[in-house]
Each structure stands twice: as C-alpha cells, then as structure tokens.
C-alpha cells in the first residue's frame, strides 16, 4: 500500500507557469468550492444554458434553502464587482449549489459529488473568459475590450483544451553530438506530464 492509495482527504493543485487554467484535484470527500468576494451579476450559465439559481444565505445556510442543480461539464459565472466572467469545468457530472452573503459580498459555488464516486478523484478547472464582460467594469481591465466573436472563440478554445491538464512538468536538457566534425547541439525537452481529467489517464506524446 502506498501513500497515494490511502483514503486521504486532500486536494492537490498543480501550479504551472503560464497556465490559463487553475486546476484542483479533489479526493475523498473534500467538496470543490469556487469562492469570490463578489456576488453574481447575472444568472449562471450551466452547460450553455442560463439557469435561475437561487443561493442560500451563507451566514446561516439551511438545508431547505439549498437547491442542487446538475452540471454535466461547465458553469459560467459573471461577477458584479469585477465584471469578470469565469468558466468552471468539472471532470465528471456533479450537482452544484450556491451560498451568498450580500452583506459581506461573498459568493460560493459548491459541488456535491456522487457518493458512488467517493473514491475517485474529481478535477475542477477554472479559466477567465472575459475581464470586461459588460463594459462597465474597472477601466484598467477594459483596455482590451473584446468583440463578442472573440469571446466566443475564446470560450470554444477553453472548452476544447479543458480536458487535458499538465500535472508535474519537468525540463530535460539533452546534449547530443554525432561526430567530431559537426557542431554539438542541445535539445531542451519540456515534459508537461499531461493528464486527461475525464479518464484520469496520462496523455502520451
């Protein structure tokens, strides 16, 4: 038995330089939570459809106030203060609910995994779709205002590549020289240790 096989409550975060996604891998009962110090400006878009989601009061959450909404793959959140729109990708279908505190201006989107998947790892990824969604945000984040077509292309790009995430990358420096007459050359190899979150299998080059 190795340490990784143990039923540990944990979450791991691969932090990769230059990554457009934030990635978190959950294990054994830790509930994925997306937290913002800003409430939503508009209804969330779940799997491409706008859903009227009512959030329970975060200061005193009651079970009857919590409404679980199934999510197949993704959720799109548009926040009020920042005018940022984020995309949230899940590695498998989950149920989500939200908590909101209007006084402290806090919002949480919490995912409930199926009990049958309790032993399996769940991967959640987030990506910033737009920093100036309605054009009414902070001026400095609206300098490069995108047209809607650009945002649509960006959304599709995020969807296409959300499934594969780098885990523990390494850099190898290789020096090869075939004979003494030619100049030596170096080969720098980047191994991203790519993993497919839908199957949790390594992606071979």
């Amino acid at each position: 038995m190795k340490q990784g096989d143990h039923d540990e409550k944990s979450m791991r975060m691969p932090i990769i330089r230059g990554m457009p996604y934030g990635t978190m891998i959950y294990k054994s009962g830790i509930k994925p939570s997306i937290f913002s110090k800003s409430v939503l400006k508009s209804n969330p878009i779940i799997d491409g459809k706008e859903v009227n989601m009512k959030c329970a009061d975060a200061s005193l959450p009651k079970e009857e106030d919590i409404t679980l909404i199934p999510v197949e793959k993704e959720v799109q959140l548009h926040f009020a203060n920042s005018d940022f729109t984020w995309m949230v990708f899940y590695s498998r279908p989950v149920n989500v609910y939200c908590l909101q505190n209007s006084e402290t201006n806090e919002f949480q989107l919490i995912a409930e995994d199926s009990p049958s998947h309790a032993k399996n790892e769940l991967v959640v990824r987030v990506a910033l779709l737009d920093s100036c969604s309605s054009g009414e945000g902070y001026p400095y984040f609206c300098e490069n205002l995108h047209k809607s077509e650009v945002t649509d292309k960006k959304r599709e790009l995020y969807r296409q590549h959300a499934d594969v995430y780098p885990y523990s990358p390494t850099v190898h420096f290789l020096v090869e020289r075939s004979d003494l007459q030619t100049e030596p050359f170096a080969l720098i190899q980047f191994n991203w240790d790519a993993t497919r979150m839908s199957t949790m299998e390594k992606v071979s080059g």
Binding site: M11, R12, I15, P20, M24, S36, S168, T170, R177
Partner: protein, 300 residues
C-alpha cells in the same frame, strides 16, 4: 713618507675613492718595513676593484662571448621545454578523443549527456562546509520545506525508496529566489497573508485565500512617465478551493469558512518536486495523515 705614497696612490686612482680610503686605512696601521708590501697589495686591490667595476659596466670587454654562449643555452633549454609540452598536449588530446569515442557510438548516435539524470552535483552543502539551516529555524512552514527537501533529494538520488532520514543526510539546497519560493513559505496555521503570491503569467497566484485553495488574480499595469507598476485588486480574484475540512476534526465549527480555522484541521505540503515549469502543492487533512500513520505503525 706615508703621506707621499698616499698622494701617489691618490693621483693614480683619483677616480676611485673607495680604493683610496681602503689603502689609507691599511697604511695607517702599518710600519715603514711593510710599506712596499702594502704598496703592492694596494695596487693589486685597486686592479681587482677596477675589474669588478668594469664587469658591472654596460659594455664589458668580456660580455659578447659570454652572452652568446648564454643565448645558445637558453635556446637549447626552451626547445627542450617546448618539445616536452607539445608531446604532453598531443597525448592528452589523443586520450580525451579516445574517451569521447568510447562514450559515443557513432554508428548509432544517442544522447550522451542527460543533465536531468546526471545533476551537476550531488554533494551535500554540509559536506563542503556550507551551513544547511535547520528547517525549524526557517519558522513559518517547516512541513512544506521538509517535504521539499524530501522530494528534491529523491530526484537527486534517483531512488524514491530511500528512507527519508537518508535523504535528509544527503541534504538539499533550499530554493532561495526560486519562482515558487513564496508558495513554500506558506503556513496554513497562520491564515491568509499576502506574502505567498507568485506571478506566473498570466495570473498572480496565491495558495491562501478566504478558503483553502488557489486564488487567481488578474493583474493589470499602472504606468506613468517614470514608473510601470503591476497590481491587482484582491477582491476581483477567484479562489478554487475546497470545504469539508472541519469534518476531519471533531468539534470544529460548521461555520469554519475562515482559512485560519481550517488550518487547524489540515496541513499543506509539496506533493511533487518543483521544476522550472511547475510544482504540485497539496492540502491534506491531519486526520487522514494520522490514520495513515496508524495504518503503517500497526504492523510494528
């Protein structure tokens, strides 16, 4: 008499004051019978001195022959030294080339040097008298630094099964000024501070936040004629984290949505060794670690 003789000496050797004083000194301590001997002695002495002075002059009469011989000796010696050096140099080049040929199979050229498997040095800093600071003295996050030491040492030794105690003996230099250094200095028990951020484009990342997890902040620039600054608004960041840690510790509050409270029920360490591209950090509940420890220790 003595002074007349002395005057003659002075007249003959007026340009040699040293000879004059020496002769006078000798004469003044002599008697009349020894004057002739002293005179002969003085003459010989003055001649010797003259010869001595001439031998130090710029163009002595005997110089050309001696210099020519000396020059020949020097040329002969230099030729021998240069010859020996050339022979030694050719020998070394031949030996090195032979070793290089042995290292490379030219019929099937392969990678000959893989720095990832052959680190520049495996010498422990302690072995070369560099102090390795005790992890406790670093204070804020001893656990994550010790996990750093363990993971890096396992990479350096190439054997992941080596006992942790042995790895610590090997020693690993701390990642001072590495791009991820701030991430390793985080202590969940201290709660959220803004000292654990790294800028890895395009986001400013923080491993602490309102809940345990990864906070992503989009930076922007603030520039004028003299200064260009990068800044972010913390409230605009998004944290991807997790809840449920309070279940790991009995009696914890259900409202445990503060990082400091969560910090009592979990720990934070390095899951995978860092590289220039990235690293993997882990939050794990203390109860899980305790159960794991008990699982292994029940066999002993």
């Amino acid at each position: 008499m003595v002074f007349d003789w002395a005057k003659e000496i002075l007249a003959m050797k007026r340009d040699m004051e040293l000879v004059q004083s020496t002769s006078l000194s000798v004469v003044s301590n002599s008697n009349y019978d020894s004057v002739s001997k002293e005179q002969e002695f003085g003459s010989q002495l003055s001649l010797l001195l003259q010869e001595s002075i001439h031998s130090h002059s710029a163009y002595p009469a005997t110089k050309p022959k001696k210099m020519a011989a000396l020059r020949k000796d020097m040329i002969r010696t230099c030729s021998i030294v240069v010859g020996v050096l050339v022979v030694l140099g050719l020998g070394t080049m031949y030996s090195t080339t032979n070793q290089f040929h042995k290292m490379i199979d030219f019929n099937n050229p392969k990678i000959v040097i893989d720095l990832s498997k052959h680190p520049m040095s495996t010498t422990s800093p302690m072995d070369i008298t560099f102090p390795l600071y005790p992890e406790r003295s670093l204070g804020s996050s001893p656990h994550v630094l010790s996990s750093y030491e363990s993971t890096v040492s396992s990479v350096q030794s190439g054997d992941s099964d080596v006992a942790r105690e042995d790895l610590q003996k090997v020693g690993a230099t701390y990642p001072t000024n590495a791009w991820y250094e701030n991430l390793l200095l985080f202590d969940p028990n201290q709660g959220y501070t803004n000292n654990n951020q790294v800028y890895s484009m395009p986001f400013i990342l923080d491993v602490a936040g309102p809940i345990p997890g990864l906070t992503m902040n989009l930076p922007t620039k603030l520039a004028n004629n003299q200064v260009v600054q990068m800044y972010n608004i913390p409230d605009f960041g998004l944290t991807i984290g997790g809840i449920g840690w309070q279940e790991a510790v009995e009696g914890a509050s259900d409202k445990a949505n503060l990082h400091a409270i969560y910090g009592n029920s979990m720990t934070y360490d390095l899951s995978e060794p860092p590289s220039e591209l990235g690293l993997v950090l882990r939050y794990v509940s203390i109860k899980s670690l305790l159960e794991l420890y008990l699982y292994f220790t029940r066999f002993f």
